[in-house]
Amino acid sequence: MAQGARDRVSGAGEVPDGGTPAAARTPAAGGGPQEGPAAGRRAVEATWRIESARIVGALARYTGDLALAEDVASEALAEALVSWPRDGVPRDPTAWLLATGRRRAIDAFRRRAGRDVRYAAFARDLGEGGAHAGAAHSGGDHPDLLWDPDRIDDDKLALIFTACHPVLSKEARVALTLRVVGGLTSEEIARAFLVPTPTIQARITRAKKALGAARVPFEVPPAAERAVRLGSVLNVLYVIFTEGSSASAGGDWMRTDLAREAIRLARVLSRLVPQEPEAASLLALLELTAARFPARTGPDGEAILLADQDRRRWDTAAIRRGRAALARAVAAGRGLGPYGLQAAIAEQHDVAASVEDTDWARIVRLYEALGRVAPSPVVDLNRAVAVSMASGPGPALEIVDALAAAGALAGSYLLPSVRGELLSRLGRVDEARRELELAAQRCGNERERAVLESKAAALGEPSG
């Protein structure tokens, strides 16, 4: 009968909680994947991966203080790591973490009430014993009420905006966003950024202090601030993505995870602010860029340039998702911003069967538009490359020479590298060699330097 089967399966890892005798709650040691202390630890980690943003968000709404919410959520997590392996996984793991975090928050408020007037009022509201307390803030002692499904999106959005607040340094925004919105541990963030764990811990501590010192409210910013604040959020997600997608040595797998995390956050954000085309644009840019990841490294980890990539390895599902997001941004009818234009450029590459088939004229126009909304010498240099593909090396060299004359990108290997390439195609071999050698000198990446040196060498010995 069904009843017998239910007993056998025991609800896919569900261990009975409260009210059951301790002996029955202690999971059998050395059992299958769903039993034993190790299973309790894994259940904590899995719950955290899925629910951390909601938990921190709900606690931040409850306390009005993101730094405190992050502290008490971490304490609840630590408590779960002790108690779940010992007592079994609670029936509703998320509610358990919320209730525990909330109790810790009340303790913290009581402790601080004596020292800080800010907390005194709150502590008074909690009343003696706290049974009916906090009603003004959360609706009583019942953890379910902290868990308001209609508030989840607002909480998550407030969390993103607060973690990316402009009072924080860019590094702090990135670390705090990964920690409180992404649910990554300091160790994971440190590994991803190839820095020691204490560095990340210090960054997060400083960030939390800075939010407290600036009295940053936990809220979705009012309309007047919205555009600027959204810009900061988009920038943080973009930085996380580029950090994850830069092909530097070591810990490569983790860095791909970082790029994935950025895409996930962009997906969440673009749904939370459907009226903001730049959020959809950023999602499109990340999807359309990540779509090429499977083809951009060879079997030995060497970088493969766009022209040499096996386009069959591109992720067609990611391209579809990216194009759909870009179409949403276009449909808003307000014209594309910097992320949208970059996404449109990535789209042109993604839909082309080969370099030759690429609509370079269109890419040139998109770079021109990008140069107008977000002027930068790097954009001009990229435009020059597109111009060389669309109209030949001559007109492209004019753009590059203008950049050089203006002293742009001084000290960077990018400019001499592109200039050398164009001169080589124009048959101005000696000048080309000099530029490529200069580029090689300036290039920090060993593999790229080797490529530049071999290009210079292929042009032969200097004449005369």
């Binding site: 069904a2 896919a12 259940a43 996930r264 749904r271």
Partner: protein, 142 residues
């Protein structure tokens, strides 16, 4: 990362109870939609399908020498397979955590969770495995 299939299972009794409970179809679409959307946003959902009612399906039974084909509904069958999700998550614990969030409830309703092995776990020198790998590459599954 590994792939896990969450298999929605129920029984005839559970189906009948659900039909009688008078749950609004729109409401069911909404709760299931929210659950699916959460997995999509989390970037874990690879595929999902629900199946048409069992009374429109057939069962091919191999217990006899010549396979027997039976039309639904299957009076004798206690377990019905109703649909599935495929999630890509780091561990089976994540798959369990997602399964607990699924809007399924009531006696007899279950989700079975099974890992989906990857093609890399099969012998690479086997020609059938090579053919399957080629098909997966061609259709963008790898």
């Amino acid at each position: 990362m590994a792939k896990y299939m969450l298999i929605m299972r129920s029984t005839d009794e559970a189906e009948a109870a659900f039909a009688e409970s008078g749950v609004d179809f729109e409401e069911m679409l909404a709760t299931m939609g929210r659950f699916n959307n959460e997995m999509i946003e989390a970037g874990v959902l690879v595929a999902a399908e629900g199946l048409e009612e069992a009374d429109k399906g057939v069962v091919v039974d191999y217990s006899t020498e010549e396979p027997t084909v039976t039309d639904g509904p299957y009076g004798e069958t206690k377990e019905l397979f109703n649909g599935f999700w495929i999630l890509e998550v780091p561990t089976i614990d994540d798959a369990v955590a997602w399964a607990k969030k699924a809007p399924l409830s009531g006696p007899g309703m279950k989700a079975e969770i099974r890992r989906v092995p990857t093609i890399d776990e099969f012998p690479a020198d086997n020609e059938w495995i090579q053919a399957e790998r080629a098909w997966r590459e061609r259709t963008g599954q790898l």
